[in-house]
């Protein structure tokens, strides 16, 4: 099957046409112009350099991009977990918590909160929970998984130790942990990779967070287990209507899970939109290149998989203008290497940062 840039073959990785998410009302999380830089002796690494996107209640936003493009740092910025020498230098992270049984409605700019303060600590784990990138090492090996889940529960819920233990066991059961009562006392190194990942998910779910941030939760486990964990996440999302930011560099996973896709490159959002648009009508050359590199069931088995041409520039040597122009098949000399296209949405369309589609330049490049 021939693949062309204009009509990428989405094949088996195409999203389920039946799934449609209608965005209504105000987003639960709005990231606007977020910049997180690492100031080092060698120079400034602009790990996140002007990222904007929204997450609505009940929606799954997939953040995709090659390794090192700033996906994790974006979400660590949201949780305010960026460690020195990293720092949020600009932007807003508006979190809007709807009023629920125990909480009042809340609207807060997380970027402005003191990093170690009480308010952000209540939001971490309680409102926004993380399913980390390295599930293998994310439990302390010296403490039982049960005690670590109970700790999270006691931090955010007004319950006794015994009730916390019951909740923890209940969550372990919910994520499909076999014999959760016994596994409660197990140490992470006694569990297989898949079970460990389930335990991590149970911990993230333990305080019924409004937002789940799943940072490549399946990259470190084998393929069969990956499929099971993804199935679990899908099922949990359906049952709870969770709002999830799902980070991955695997477009196949995006197709399965996401309602809305954010494509990142070198700390910037290149394009974003509903999953069907991204897969069937990709506009940014980078998105197209990514889609071409996805294996498809219909493709002939032995053909060489095209990858995105060229390599990712060193973080300290950012190209001028559009960061993708040195690798871009459609780069316009004198335009793309000079000015940075803004992430601009034409009326009725979704935002894309490319001069092929509009003439808006990024105003501030500081």
């Amino acid at each position: 099957m021939q693949q062309t840039p204009t009509a990428p073959d989405a094949g088996a990785t195409a999203p389920d046409p039946a799934r449609r998410f209608e965005r209504v009302g105000e987003p639960i999380l709005s990231i606007r112009g977020l910049k997180t830089h690492f100031t080092m002796d060698e120079g400034v690494v602009r790990a996140v350099d002007g990222v904007s996107f929204d997450l609505h209640a009940g929606e799954v936003v997939g953040v995709v991009g090659e390794s090192g493009c700033g996906k994790s740092i974006t979400m660590k910025s949201v949780l305010r977990l960026v460690q020195k020498p990293g720092r949020i230098v600009a932007g807003e992270i508006i979190y809007r918590r709807p009023a629920s049984g125990k909480h009042k409605a809340l609207e807060v700019d997380l970027a402005k909160l003191p990093e170690a303060g009480r308010r952000i600590r209540q939001i971490r784990g309680g409102d926004i929970a993380l399913i980390p990138q390295e599930p293998m090492a994310s439990f302390s090996p010296l403490h039982s998984i049960g005690s670590q889940i109970v700790e999270a529960i006691l931090l955010h819920q007004d319950v006794s130790k015994r009730e916390a233990k019951e909740i923890a066991i209940e969550k372990l059961r919910e994520v499909g942990m076999p014999s959760p009562e016994q596994r409660f006392d197990a140490y992470s190194w006694q569990l297989s990779g898949g079970l460990r990942q389930r335990a991590i998910i149970a911990m993230a779910l333990s305080c019924n967070p409004a937002i789940l941030v799943a940072d490549e939760p399946t990259t470190a486990i084998d393929v069969t287990t990956q499929a099971q964990v993804l199935e679990l996440l899908k099922q949990l999302q359906r049952e709870h209507g969770s709002s999830i930011v799902f980070i991955t560099h695997d477009l196949g996973v995006i197709a399965q899970l996401a309602d809305h896709v954010v494509v990142m490159y070198l700390g910037r959002v290149m394009e974003q939109g509903p999953v069907h648009d991204i897969f069937h009508r990709p506009r940014h050359p980078y998105t197209r290149a990514l889609l071409q590199s996805v294996p498809s069931l219909h493709a002939e088995p032995r053909i060489q998989l095209p990858t995105v041409a060229g390599s990712i520039p060193h973080p300290l040597q950012r190209p001028t203008g559009c960061p993708f122009h040195p690798r871009c098949p459609d780069a316009m000399p004198g335009r793309c290497d000079v000015a940075m296209p803004a992430l601009y949405a034409a009326p009725g369309g979704s935002p894309v940062a490319c001069f092929l589609h509009h003439d808006h330049e990024e105003a501030d490049d500081g």
Partner: protein
């Protein structure tokens, strides 16, 4: 856990047996025995040597028998609680060692506690405030602490105490208590003297351990489980103490067993300089005078302490780390 401890305990007699052989061979190693040096001394002094008396001594101590037999006689007596008699002092070894051993143990324990109590917090503060002013200050202090020989530190502190405050801080007791029987007043006097040698003996170890804790903790703080604990909403100090510190201090705990022998050999000069009634100088003298049974007993006692120290550190490590605990089960 019980199995773990039991297994460790079962190894103890075996280790002690090995150590006792090594101690015995070591003290026998130099040419001649106590009696040859004793006779040489007496003849030099012009006294006549009573051959009958010497033969009697040889027989009592079994010095004329083969080595293996000597060893078993010696160890057999030890097992019955008879530590033998010092040839040089002509007093029971137990009497010579008794209080010195107690004071040595006390001093060692104090300096160990001092070391840990100071080094671990410094390590934690340095690691959590990496490259801050406090961290740099501690780093400089650590280098100074590591580079200063402890007897020199002893001399400097003694001089300062004497010059500034008119205090004589040698020994572990004031003169009036040195030979007195134990009483609360004597304990109080001991406490008012013990802190200086405690610091002197502990400084180098403190600097070393602070560096180890800092380096380990920096490693652990970067690990995903530390970040995960932060992502749960745990306050920073609580998180640091509960998770990464527990991993970071394991190597420190594992050095517990070496602490006694290290202080025994390293502390001899300090003990001499500060006239501390500890066991180090006694061992030195016993070795010089070929007072082999006294030396043997002291070396063996320290082997026992080392074995106990290792056992305690193993148990502590098992308490800290379930992987060690379960491995032994």
């Amino acid at each position: 856990m019980h199995w773990f401890i039991l297994k460790r305990l079962l190894v103890v007699p075996f280790m002690l047996f090995i150590f006792s052989i090594i101690s015995f061979v070591l003290i026998q190693a130099p040419p001649g025995d106590f009696l040859t040096s004793y006779i040489a001394e007496l003849t030099q002094g012009g006294s006549s040597v009573d051959q009958a008396q010497i033969d009697a001594l040889r027989q009592t101590y079994g010095l004329d028998r083969p080595m293996v037999e000597q060893y078993f006689t010696w160890i057999g007596r030890m097992l019955q609680g008879d530590l033998g008699v010092s040839l040089e002092w002509n007093r029971a070894n137990s009497e010579l060692i008794g209080e010195r051993l107690l004071l040595t143990l006390l001093l060692t324990t104090f300096s160990l506690l001092f070391t840990w109590a100071v080094a671990i917090p410094i390590g934690i503060i340095s690691a959590t405030r990496k490259y801050s002013l406090v961290d740099y200050v501690f780093t400089v202090l650590n280098y100074i602490g590591l580079a200063t020989p402890n007897f020199l530190l002893a001399l400097v502190l003694m001089w300062i105490a004497f010059d500034r405050f008119g205090l004589s801080v040698t020994g572990l007791f004031s003169p009036e208590f040195a030979q007195a029987p134990w009483s609360w007043a004597r304990v109080a006097d001991l406490m008012s003297h013990i802190w200086l040698p405690m610091i002197v003996l502990g400084v180098a170890g403190t600097a070393q351990i602070a560096r180890v804790v800092r380096a380990n903790l920096l490693d652990e703080l970067g690990k995903p489980y530390s970040e995960m604990a932060r992502a749960k909403g745990l306050p920073e100090w609580k998180l640091v103490l509960k998770y990464p510190t527990r991993v970071a201090i394991a190597p420190v705990v594992s050095t517990l067993g070496w602490y006694f022998p290290q202080l025994l050999s390293g502390g001899v000069v300090v003990s001499v300089v500060m006239s501390l009634p500890t066991i180090g100088p006694l061992l030195l003298r016993a070795l010089v005078g070929q007072d082999m049974y006294l030396a043997g007993v002291i070396i063996l006692l320290f082997s026992v302490l080392t074995v106990i120290g290792t056992l305690v550190s193993d148990i502590l490590l098992a308490v800290l780390d379930p992987r060690i605990r379960m491995d032994g089960a």
